[in-house]
Structures are given as C-alpha cells and as structure tokens.
C-alpha cells in the first residue's frame, strides 16, 4: 500500500493531526530543552520560594526557588529518553524471543512462553519496583528495569504474528526451495512485522512514560536533583495545600504527552488495520 494513501487516511481525523504536531513540539522540547527552558533547571532563585505562576515564572517555583517550567522541560527530556530507550530495548528483546518462540515452536516455544507467562504475573510497576529495589535507582537501571518489564508484551505480540506469517504460502514456498531458517526469518518474516511493531511501540511508549513517572513519584526514579516529571510530583505533593502548582503542572504535562501519544497510537491502529482498508 502506498504511504501517501496511509497519510491521507491518518489525517482524516483532525485530532490525529493536532496530536501529531503536539508530539513533534514535545519531541523538539526533548531534543533541545535549553532553547525552550527560560532558566537553568537547577538554579535556585532565593527571592522566589514557592511563588505562584506569574510573568517571571510561568508555572511558578518550587520549594527551592527553582523554575518549574524549566524543570518540566528538562524533565520531559529525561523521561522521554528513558521511556524510548526502555521500549527500544524491550522491542529488540521481545521481538527476538517472540520470533524464536513463534518460528521454531515446540520446546523453544514452551520454554520462552513459560518464562513470559511468569513475568506477566507481575504488575508492571511491581516488577520495575522489584528490579530497582535490587539494583538501585539510576538512569541505566531504570532503562533496563522498564526494558525487562515491557519485553513480554512484545514477545507475545510478535510470537502471534510469527505463527500466522510462517503458515503463509510464500514462506512455505521459500522453505520448499530450501531456504534456511535464518534466511526466512530475516527476509520473509521480519519485514512483515513492521506495522504491528509500530503500533506496539507507540502504545507501550506511552505506558512506559507513565511507569517511569510513577517510579519517580515513588522516589525510585532518577535520583535528585535532576528533574523528572514523576519526581517533581512526588516532592511537590508535600505542598499540595500551600503550593499546588508544584505538583499539578508536571502532572498536566505528563497527561498531555501521554494523551497525544495515545491519540496517535489509536490513529495508527485504525490506519494500519487491514480491516479498515477499503
């Protein structure tokens, strides 16, 4: 199918277009935070402790007099970075496991899927919490922990697609012609996993962002003073009565980011769903 047609279909819903441009803006913010942020996120303004939103500090300041908008901008960068790398890790690990289980079947499938089942028994946030509890909180450990947490989802999805792909005629024909397994997996199966990978990637990217923020909120995210959205809400919730903006603005931004990704994800699913193609 042509890309042009797909784009036109995606753009039919105005909400998709708005979310797409919003996401591009967020991406730009994450890539070049210093252009957007008015202050240094760690700089303390001794004349402005917990001041409400005004013309100088649009989103107010926190208990150390740091500019909340600037901290949000840099927090977005850190959160997006962690969530993106974690999902990238999960998609590599999960795709590999799913391909092996789905393509080879039998005992390979049994072993891999039993492990995946066992991992599924843990709520994602508890599994992440457990891994962080064992190895400590740092950016790298967060990426690894969330990467492990999201691997089973990819493995299960890819396994399902692989099983149906391997029964397709062109794969069977390739086998009959004597093509090797590795050759078939790389040349015939992987290229056909594209759209399912894109959809799984986007939907899980947004939940990974939420998981990262949750860990930050619980005090198990990136250690302070580095700003993260979840961490800002966590430390800000001590001042909900006196200075609600400290916690509420970062939360609003997470919600907006996740919302835009979810809308894009929904849109992509509708666009790429073969049942919807007329």
């Amino acid at each position: 199918m042509e890309i042009k047609k797909l784009i036109r279909k995606f753009c039919r819903n105005p909400l998709n277009i708005i979310s797409f441009f919003l996401f591009i803006f967020i991406l730009f913010t994450a890539l070049f935070p210093s252009i957007i942020a008015p202050y240094d996120p760690l700089e303390m303004d001794y004349n402005a402790f917990m001041t409400g939103p005004d013309s100088q500090h649009w989103f107010g300041t926190d208990q150390f007099g740091r500019d909340i908008l600037s901290r949000i901008v840099f927090g977005v960068q850190k959160s997006m970075q962690i969530a993106f790398l974690a999902i990238l890790l999960a998609s590599f690990a999960g795709t590999t496991l799913g391909l092996l289980a789905g393509y080879f079947g039998k005992w390979v499938d049994q072993i891999i899927m039993r492990i995946i089942d066992a991992m599924f028994a843990f709520p994602s946030i508890i599994l992440a919490l457990f891994i962080i509890a064992l190895f400590g909180a740092s950016v790298n450990n967060l990426i690894i922990a969330l990467g492990i947490v999201y691997t089973p989802i990819f493995a299960r999805t890819i396994r399902g697609s692989t099983i149906s792909l391997k029964q397709q005629l062109y794969v069977l024909a390739g086998k009959a012609l004597g093509k090797g397994d590795i050759n078939i997996i790389i040349k015939e199966i992987i290229p056909n996993l594209g759209s399912i990978l894109i959809v799984t990637f986007t939907t899980n990217f947004s939940t990974a962002l939420l998981s990262e923020a949750t860990l930050g909120f619980l005090g198990l995210g990136v250690p302070p003073p580095e700003p993260t959205l979840g961490g800002m809400i966590g430390s800000g919730s001590d001042y909900l009565m006196s200075a609600p903006w400290v916690a509420l603005f970062p939360g609003l931004i997470i919600a907006v980011i996740v919302l835009s990704i979810n809308i894009i994800g929904d849109g992509l699913r509708d666009t790429l769903d073969p049942r919807n193609i007329k």
């Binding site: 994602s124 919600a255 919302l259 979810n262």
Partner: protein
C-alpha cells in the same frame, strides 16, 4: 466436566507459579553483596565466626536450589521469614495489610464498572453523536492521566472546597465502617478512573461489534423494543471482552495501590512494599512480590471460570 477443567487450569498454573517464585528468589541473590551484610546494614561488627554461624543458621551455605525449595516450602506453609526491621513474621504482615488493599481494589473495580459500562453502552448506542464524542474524549483523558496526578487534583479540590471532608486518617472497616468507607472512597475513585476508561472503551467497541450482528438485527426486525434488544440480546455477549479487560487490569490495580496508598496514607500492602523497598528489607520485598505474583495467576484462573458463566458457549473442557 467443569471440575476437571478447573483442576486442569490449576495444574497448568503450577509451572508458572514455580517459575515466578524461582525468579523472585533468585533475583535477591543477584544483589551485589551478601545477605548478611545487607541484614546487618552499616553496623556489621560481627566476627568471622559469628558470620559463619549466622550463615549456617540461615542456610546460606547450602546450594541455591536447596535454599529455593526450603523457601518455597515456607511459602506454602505461610512461613516467609521475618522482617529485618521488626522481626515480625512476613506472612503475618501480609495477612494484616492485604485486606486493606483488597478493599481498596474492590471498591475501585466496582466504581470503574459502574462508570465504564453505562458510559460505553451509551457511547455505542448513540454512535457518532456528541454523547459518543464526549465520552470517547473523556475515555482517552482518563487513560492518559497519571494516577498520582488525579490523586493530587482530588486532594487539592476536596480539601479546598469541602473542608469538613476527612481525606486522611485511616480507620479499619471493622472498627468504624462508615468512616472507613468515606476515607477509602476518594482513593478508590482515583485508582479506578483509568480502569473505568479502559472498560468504557472496551464496552463501546465490543457493543458496536455485537450490535451489527445478524441476531441483533433479527431481534430488531421482530419488532422488539430497542432497550430489550440491547439488554436482553446484545449486552451479555458484549460483556465478554469487558471481563477480559477487567481481568487484565487487576495487575494494574494492584500496582496502583502502591501509589494511592502512599498518597492517601492508607496502611495497606502496597505501602508496606514501598517501605520495605526503601529500607532494603528483602524478606518482606520477596514475600510480598511472590504473594502478588501467585495471587494474580490464581485470579486469572478465576476469571477464566467467570467467562463460562457469562458465555455458556465457552465449554469448560480443556
């Protein structure tokens, strides 16, 4: 037939349970440093001999697989070791805290079903009307808002507008049922919003599928009233995927209790786990995580059984 299916399901869960408990057990051994050092914290003044004695006492000198089976045996006889901080048995701690978390989770599920199903139903019956659009947008927002942000908004709003409303200060249900329910209400709603959104979306999709089926068209053509068609013919079938969603959300729910309990100062299992993580209280972490894993495996079996009650077409045979 039914019983053999249930038994079969339980037997098939055994390898999963063994594997997940093994993963929990082995991960603790991956932690840098040995257990004695961790137990003693920074005040490790034990002599070499004392360390060896303690190692033997805790069975740490035995092969890891032997240690695992000892721990597993303990798990099934409700002996999960003792808290490194208080010396209290971990199983007792879970028994004390779990009912509180269970109450919170149950209230959340009830809330989300009460909101999610009717909203989803209206959305599907009135497809592509302003009602449908606003519920769908509401659903997406509910799905995207982090639970701790919703909690923060509730705290700010309620303590600002209803100054008489007690948000904090947990009391056990058996002591003061009404006050307990009042205090648990807002945390339960906070936790339930995301699930309500999921259930709403699922109900809508599933009902749209069902409403376009031939048997529904036939029922309409027979001249049945619209409401009768929906409630008698469509809803029951439309509910099947919704049960799955509710089941999948159980994990999210249990995870979410950690956040909600620490926000609203509810002394449940989630908060106990978070405290244990912060204190590096490994027996408690290990015990609670294994307990949650096993519980979710068992709950999934329960949901499978629940299916067959809703949908008699699913035969309880393996």
């Amino acid at each position: 037939m039914t019983l053999s299916y249930i038994l079969g399901r339980i037997i098939s869960a055994i390898p999963t349970i063994l594997l997940l408990t093994f993963m929990v057990f082995i991960s603790i051994h991956l932690v840098p440093g040995n257990v004695i050092d961790i137990m003693m914290g920074t005040q490790n003044y034990l002599s070499e001999e004392q360390v060896q004695e303690l190692t033997a006492e805790l069975g740490l000198d035995q092969p890891i697989i032997v240690q695992y089976f000892k721990w597993l045996k303990g798990l099934f006889t409700f002996d999960l070791g003792t808290s490194l901080r208080t010396g209290e048995p971990v199983s007792q701690m879970i028994a004390d805290k779990f009912p509180i978390t269970f109450e919170l989770a149950l209230m959340s599920i009830i809330f989300s079903l009460l909101i999610g199903i009717p909203f989803g139903l209206i959305s599907s019956v009135k497809q592509n009307t302003p009602w449908d659009y606003s519920f769908r947008v509401l659903g997406l927002v509910g799905l995207s808002a982090p639970v701790f942000w919703i909690g923060a908004i509730f705290i700010v709003l309620i303590s600002g507008t209803f100054t008489n409303y007690t948000l904090f200060g947990f009391v056990p249900f058996l002591k003061e049922p009404l006050k307990n329910l009042q205090i648990m209400l807002i945390p339960a709603i906070t936790l339930g919003i995301m699930i309500a959104a999921q259930i709403m979306r699922m109900t809508r999709n599933s009902m749209l599928d069902v409403l376009s089926q031939d048997y529904v068209k036939v029922a309409k053509a027979k001249g049945l009233k619209g409401s009768k068609v929906i409630f008698k013919h469509a809803l029951r079938n439309g509910m099947i995927p919704v049960v799955t969603t509710a089941g999948i959300q159980l994990g999210y729910l249990i995870g979410g209790t950690i956040v909600v309990e620490s926000m609203f100062a509810i002394p449940g299992m989630g908060r106990m786990l978070l405290d244990a993580v912060n204190q590096r209280n490994y027996p408690v972490v290990q015990g609670v995580v294994a307990f949650i894993g096993i519980m979710i495996v068992l709950l999934n079996i329960l949901i499978d059984i629940l299916y067959s009650i809703i949908d008699p077409r699913i035969k309880l045979t393996d």
